[in-house]
């Protein structure tokens, strides 16, 4: 079939999740015509009237990418043969309008000032020797203060609900959160009281599940969260959880300057070696190929999509871990979970089926460089939290490690424990390493015959030490929560792609100030092709001890500003 060549447009965006949606809204508001390409289907809140279905959405991954068409391959080290992730496990790639921005929990944390200058600040305080061999941390090429106004934009757009003040050891906010914090449950209070008694600084988790009705600066009105307990892996039938479909995409659509094309799977960025000329995409229903010429190409896919499209299109220089040259695929990082303490109550039950994706309390006393690492064998840390996201009975089988996994004892214990266990856990930062990266798999291909992305990653000593230390802190807090007993997990083993851990994959198109080792500058403009902008968690040179969406959202607003500037004057923006 001949590719259908379309008339040129000013901007084409690949992927209609948070990044694509924000950029589409901002550019169309500025009068710029935008085409948005989304490989999945369209969505609205009406699709979620029957969303309270754990089997369909949580266990069968209704909202996720169809792995029969495309997956990733994985190995722990270069010595192994990478094999395809045949079914879902460790992380969940979103699909369809709104992308992973639909199935998230809504936990909202600005990364710490330390994160953006991690190399400089680590060396300043501890010296160069603190950084282990092959750990490739680097400054981001942008500071917290520079990014601060863009965080504000995201918060006002999505109506983030949070406390009036945050502790001093997180980044300063020039404007308070858009709405008051979420409600406080009895279990949250137990966590907060125990942490406060230890001298820590807990606060209610900033939330994209609205604490009250909210009208944003674009005139979008949304209703308050109902605490129904179906956020992560689900779409919100109320539109209370901020997602691109109920916030930014309607603004773009109302402008009259936005054309959304669903079922449009981009397979290549077309370029002449210096600049992009457009993109090629295939209609996933009809198989029709189209070429969409554009002045500006924006990559706004998930981490794996952004990296894979650059590699498939031979745009930018692929990273080579042997020589440490090149940039595309570098600094893949993840999230270091595993430090946790379970808090068992005998004489008390909690309403744990009730909740919201971003309902909970957390503290940063052991996050970033908020504590002295001089005598510790790791850098960075974790946000320590108690969350009440709504427990569901298929996926939550609370039995202690020494209980059989089936039979009467298993039944008895899981029923008894169903509403009697609270969890205190750390969400640990993940540092990049020379041998953790993304490239194209030499063997496995997608349904179109194109190579899959290959992921090489493992947990290392840094991660094990971090988990061990953070676990002790979770235990200290847990022991102050008045429970019958606590059990701690303080070990993390080889990275295993089977159990779900976190959909916080980062890196591969990292930002920075060095054109040789980073992919984009601090406007998320590609060093090797000035009319290509790439935005997402793929820009993170490492992953912080937080959920990534706040920082992704801020970077998306920064990108939109960069594209506007570029359309005005051209050339490199830095």
């Amino acid at each position: 079939m001949m590719a259908n060549k379309l008339p040129k447009v000013p901007v084409v965006i690949v992927g209609m999740g948070w990044v694509g949606g924000i950029i589409a809204a901002e550019l169309t508001k500025a009068g710029i015509n935008v085409v948005g390409l989304e490989r999945g289907k369209s969505r609205s809140t009406q699709d979620y009237y029957h969303v309270h279905d754990e089997l369909r959405y949580a266990s069968r991954y209704e909202l996720m990418q169809d792995l029969s068409k495309e997956t990733v391959t994985f190995r722990n080290t270069e010595k192994m043969r990478a094999l395809p992730m045949r079914s879902y496990g460790s992380f969940l790639m979103g699909d369809g309008l709104g992308g992973a921005g639909v199935h998230w929990n809504g936990q909202y944390y600005r990364f710490l000032p330390y994160d953006f200058e991690i190399y400089t600040k680590t060396v300043e305080r501890y010296g160069k020797n603190k950084i282990p061999k092959d750990m490739t941390i680097r400054d981001w090429g942008i500071t917290y203060d520079e990014l601060e106004p863009y965080f504000v934009k995201y918060e006002q757009m999505s109506g983030i609900s949070g406390p009036p003040e945050l502790p001093d050891h997180v980044g300063h906010m020039s404007k308070p959160f858009a709405t008051p914090p979420m409600k406080t449950t009895p279990a949250m209070k137990l966590f907060t009281d125990a942490a406060t008694k230890l001298g820590y600084h807990p606060y209610i988790i900033p939330s994209a599940n609205l604490s009250q009705d909210y009208a944003n600066p674009d005139g979008i009105e949304r209703a308050a969260c109902q605490y129904c307990g179906f956020c992560e892996r689900f779409g919100c039938e109320y539109g209370s959880k901020a997602d691109p479909v109920v916030t930014v995409l309607p603004v773009a659509q109302k402008s009259g300057k936005f054309e959304l094309r669903t079922h449009s799977n981009v397979t290549e960025i077309l370029h002449d070696g210096k600049k992009a000329t457009g993109v090629k995409y295939v209609n996933t229903l009809t198989g029709q190929e189209s070429v969409q010429p554009a002045d500006v190409v924006v990559l706004a896919g998930y981490v794996f999509t952004n990296v894979r499209l650059l590699l498939l299109s031979k745009l930018g220089k692929p990273y080579d871990p042997k020589t440490e040259e090149g940039s595309v695929g570098r600094n893949y990082a993840y999230q270091v979970n595993g430090a946790s303490t379970s808090v068992y109550y005998e004489d008390r039950e909690f309403n744990l089926a009730m909740g919201a994706g971003a309902l909970g309390s957390s503290l940063d006393d052991f996050n970033g460089d908020n504590f002295d690492h001089s005598d510790l064998k790791f850098i960075h840390g974790a946000n320590i939290r108690f969350t009440q996201t709504g427990l569901r009975p298929i996926q939550y089988q609370p039995a202690s490690a020494d209980t059989p996994r089936w039979g009467q004892a298993f039944k008895q214990e899981t029923i008894h424990n169903a509403n009697r266990i609270l969890g205190v856990s750390g969400q640990g930062a993940s540092m990049p390493y020379r041998y953790h990266y993304l490239d194209l798999d030499p063997e496995y291909r997608d349904s179109l015959g194109l190579p899959l992305i290959r992921l090489t990653f493992d947990f290392l000593e840094q991660d094990r030490e971090l988990v061990k230390f953070i676990a002790q802190r979770t235990k200290e807090i847990a022991e102050g929560m008045g429970a019958a007993k606590t059990t701690m997990n303080d070990t993390i083993k080889q990275y295993n792609i089977v159990p779900y851990q976190s959909t916080h994959n980062t890196g591969g198109t990292i930002m920075g100030d060095d054109p040789d080792t980073t992919v984009v500058n601090n406007y998320l403009q590609m060093w090797d092709a000035e009319n290509v902008f790439i935005c997402g968690a793929s820009n993170f040179p490492h992953n912080g001890g937080y959920n990534p969406t706040a920082t992704v959202g801020a970077l998306a607003y920064r990108t939109a500003e960069g594209i506007e500037k570029y359309i005005g004057k051209g050339g490199s923006l830095v």
Partner: protein, 259 residues
């Protein structure tokens, strides 16, 4: 502990809720719940009565026939084997019904007949290599193939060991057979016993706790044992409460009838 009636579709809080979100959402941009809840004219009569009593009888003798309880995939022998094995995974006890009374074997049968049984949304393209444990499932079997093979193998192994098929064994013998599969202690050609067992065990748990629309969790009996309220629309008024609140659960079937 307080006992609270769950909100039924027509009561005051439901109306308040709809009115409230209708006002808030405004309709222009987001849509919201209003449209979707407008009456589907199903049989509303008797809907607000108390939940049906738990039954431990065979579903076949109940007066209200459930025509959904029939086989889409299993042979009758596979079904009986699955029913017996699921009952050992999740047995009836003084907490309440076990897998058999909850219809779990029907759930598994129906799952195998559809997309999940065919691994339709999973990457099943060759080549297949032996994997490290960290790389996950890399067998060529689709779920329905592995499940049918495993159930037949349960009978074959039971026959070898006890000269009876699996459903005819005592519960203790059945547990020993299942444990042998779980620990890969059986030597049956081409049967990845522990992979079969792990899959079967997960399917049985899903059948206990998935919404009853899928054929298991009969009359929401699985949910009731755990005091899981199922598909409620809102906990805004309860989320801050100190005491544990027991509710009569609601299913997606109930949801379809909210008008």
């Amino acid at each position: 502990m307080t006992k609270q009636q769950s909100r039924q579709p027509k009561d005051e809080s439901r109306r308040r809720f709809l009115k409230y979100s209708g006002a808030a959402i405004g309709g222009a941009v987001v849509g919201g719940v209003i449209g979707g809840l407008v009456g589907r004219n199903l049989n509303k009569a008797g809907k607000n009565e108390a939940a049906p009593p738990e039954s431990t009888e065979s579903p076949a003798v109940q007066r209200d026939q459930d025509y959904n309880q029939a086989l889409m995939f299993f042979s009758q022998e596979q079904f009986q084997t699955a029913e017996a094995a699921a009952e050992r995974i999740y047995p009836q006890d003084n907490n309440g019904p076990g897998a058999k009374a909850l219809g779990v074997a029907f759930f598994i049968d129906h799952q195998m007949a559809g997309a999940y049984g065919f691994n339709a949304r999973e990457y099943m393209s060759p080549p297949f290599y032996k994997a490290e444990a960290s790389q996950g499932y890399q067998l060529t079997f689709k779920r329905r193939e592995l499940l049918a093979l495993g159930l037949d193998a349960l009978n074959e192994y039971s026959q070898q060991k006890h000269a009876k098929k699996f459903p005819k064994l005592t519960p203790e013998e059945q547990d020993a057979v299942l444990t042998a599969f779980e620990k890969d202690e059986v030597d049956l050609k081409d049967v990845p016993a522990s992979a079969f067992f792990a899959m079967f065990r997960n399917l049985a748990i899903e059948g206990v706790y998935a919404d009853p629309l899928y054929g298991g969790n009969r009359n929401m009996g699985g949910w009731r044992m755990r005091n899981y309220p199922g598909n409620q629309m809102s906990y805004t008024n309860e989320i801050e409460k100190e005491e544990f609140i027991k509710m009569e659960p609601l299913s997606l079937h109930d949801h379809l009838q909210m008008g």
